[in-house]
Symmetry: C2
């Protein structure tokens, strides 16, 4: 169990939760994930570490971890959200459109923008939620190669 895992486990303990085999498996799977996972995906991956792990436990553990702020729902452009390990504090995510790889952006600069919004709408702003979509470096490369290959084929077909 690495340092990050230790910290997460300690958080659970600190809030009076037991540190069980299923929960360790779920933490491990989340720590290794490079993209937000649905409960079903998470079960599949966590079963590498606990073959018996039930889906119900995944739901229950995500609920606890979300309350403790250890995990965050990350909304995806298509369909709904997946869950990803959260860095403490306010963060945002950049999600790759092609492979769903996710990078966390710590901190943000929307203060002035949000003041405008408050003034214009009469709302008291209590929070915000920003998801950024893009193409990761790998996928940019992959798409360029695809385009190149397609061009070659087109020439051959002439």
């Amino acid at each position: 169990m690495n340092a990050n895992m230790e910290t997460l486990a300690a958080q659970l303990r600190a809030h009076g939760h037991k540190l069980t085999r299923p929960r360790r498996a779920i933490l491990q799977a989340l720590a290794e994930a490079a993209k937000p996972l649905s409960p079903a995906e998470l079960q599949t991956r966590a079963r590498v570490f606990d073959a018996e792990l039930g889906l119900v436990t995944v739901y229950r553990t995500l609920e606890i971890m979300e309350e403790l702020g250890l995990v965050r729902p990350v909304h995806l452009a298509d369909g709904c959200h997946g869950y990803a390990l959260a860095t403490p504090g306010h963060t945002h995510h950049v999600v790759c459109q092609r492979c769903h790889a996710v990078v966390e952006i710590v901190g943000c600069d929307l203060g002035v923008f949000l003041e405008h919004v408050a003034a214009r709408t009469g709302y008291t702003i209590t929070g915000h939620w920003l998801e950024i979509a893009g193409l990761c470096a790998d996928c940019q490369r992959a798409l360029q190669e695809e385009a190149y290959t397609r061009e070659e084929n087109d020439h051959a077909a002439e």
Copy 2:
């Protein structure tokens, strides 16, 4: 049928879709909604205009309207998203935490912030998605009154 409705209906026609009674009912219900609606909520409200309307048709119509950009999924802080009529162009939403009233913010100013993100992550940024949570003017007032009433009760109980 008001002007806004006419425009929406015309959009459907322009893309080769038929303008049916169920679809008009759905448009009408969306036009009157002050908050994002789930498919089930939308069915209930649209049945005021077409009592027979089936839930399947709501799903199918939302799918078409989302493709045409007439409707947008609005992600909510709790659980998942609802659907709201979309203003053309890039917009964001401010959603009231208490009554879910939604105001659309047309235009946004995240250009510089997004450039930073691109530089830091190596991602090409293709889009973003910002939801703002807050309290609408009405709910601010309502909550203040509640607090006041509670205080009165506390005094009476002494």
